[in-house]
């Protein structure tokens, strides 16, 4: 049987892959994708802890469900903001959105 550690290693690696994307990408849609990867790695942690440590309870599953719901809401709002920004400055590069920069 796979020990819990391996699943935690997997979610850690996925978290830092998302982190790398968030650092290097300058396009807002790809940054949003990196955030989704990070949220998914957290979900894997919750599910693995629920399955391995407290298999008679469902708390980790509920946390993951709520995280997925909030991630959906967050993605929808982020894409509305991105489309509005594109309409105003014709670009979705974060470097181009510097109107309020001091």
């Amino acid at each position: 049987m796979i020990p819990l550690n391996y699943i935690l290693f997997l979610s850690t690696a996925l978290f830092f892959i998302g982190m790398y994307g968030l650092f290097t990408r300058r396009n807002m849609i790809t940054m949003l994708m990196s955030v989704e990867l990070i949220l998914n790695s957290v979900n894997i942690n919750f599910i693995a802890f629920n399955k391995y440590l407290y298999p008679e309870k469902l708390e980790g599953l509920f946390f993951s469900l709520f995280i997925i719901a909030i991630a959906a809401a967050e993605a929808a709002v982020a894409i509305a903001i991105i489309i509005n920004l594109y309409r105003n400055i014709r670009s979705i590069d974060v470097e181009a959105a510097d109107d309020m920069k001091f």
Partner: protein
């Protein structure tokens, strides 16, 4: 047992490779498709863990909802055939460094606690009820371990997000520009 472990290794390699490609590839549309594969692989991992309901939710919400939304917004905002600019060299090197250091530190901490969860999962006496009816009754119960209040709060949140998206995406009047 060997087959189950092999499935886990294949799934994790699939998730990591497609996730890495999603954040490094130069074409934005390919990046979205790799993200789709990565999220499907995570759903497969949930299936492997025996959490069927959350795997179904993952496929329905992430693969069917969020990725499709992202692909739509790619079509609305840019030419999908064009390459993204490569990351600035110094920034890429520094972020690789930061990511590697963070990963190694987290792995060291995980190794220190590896004895903590040495107990075997799936032990017979701790049989658990993962059926959808159990999930639904706990989600709507108002007793000690019920999730009725968070359920209502998140429905308000989703309504607020819905209205916010409409308000944000309304085209402003031309004379205001």
């Amino acid at each position: 047992m060997i087959g189950s472990e092999l499935v886990f290794y294949i799934l994790s390699a699939f998730i990591l490779v497609t996730g890495g490609l999603a954040v490094t590839t130069r074409k934005i549309f390919r990046s979205a498709i790799w993200l789709l594969f990565c999220l499907t692989g995570i759903a497969g991992l949930y299936f492997w863990l025996g959490m069927l309901f959350i795997a179904a939710v993952q496929i329905v919400v992430y693969v069917g909802g969020i990725v499709v939304l992202i692909i739509f917004s790619i079509f609305l905002t840019q030419q999908s055939g064009k390459d993204l600019p490569p990351p600035v060299r110094s920034r890429a090197i520094l972020s690789v460094l930061a990511v590697c250091i963070g990963f190694v530190l987290t792995c060291i901490i995980l190794n220190q606690y590896s004895h903590f969860h040495s107990q075997a999962p799936y032990s017979g006496k701790r049989e658990f009820d993962m059926s959808i009816s159990a999930i639904g009754s706990q989600m709507l119960s108002t007793t000690e371990h019920g999730y009725a209040l968070p359920f209502e709060v998140i429905s308000i949140l989703l309504l607020a997000a819905l209205i916010a998206c409409i308000v944000l995406a309304i085209r402003s009047k031309p004379e205001e520009k």
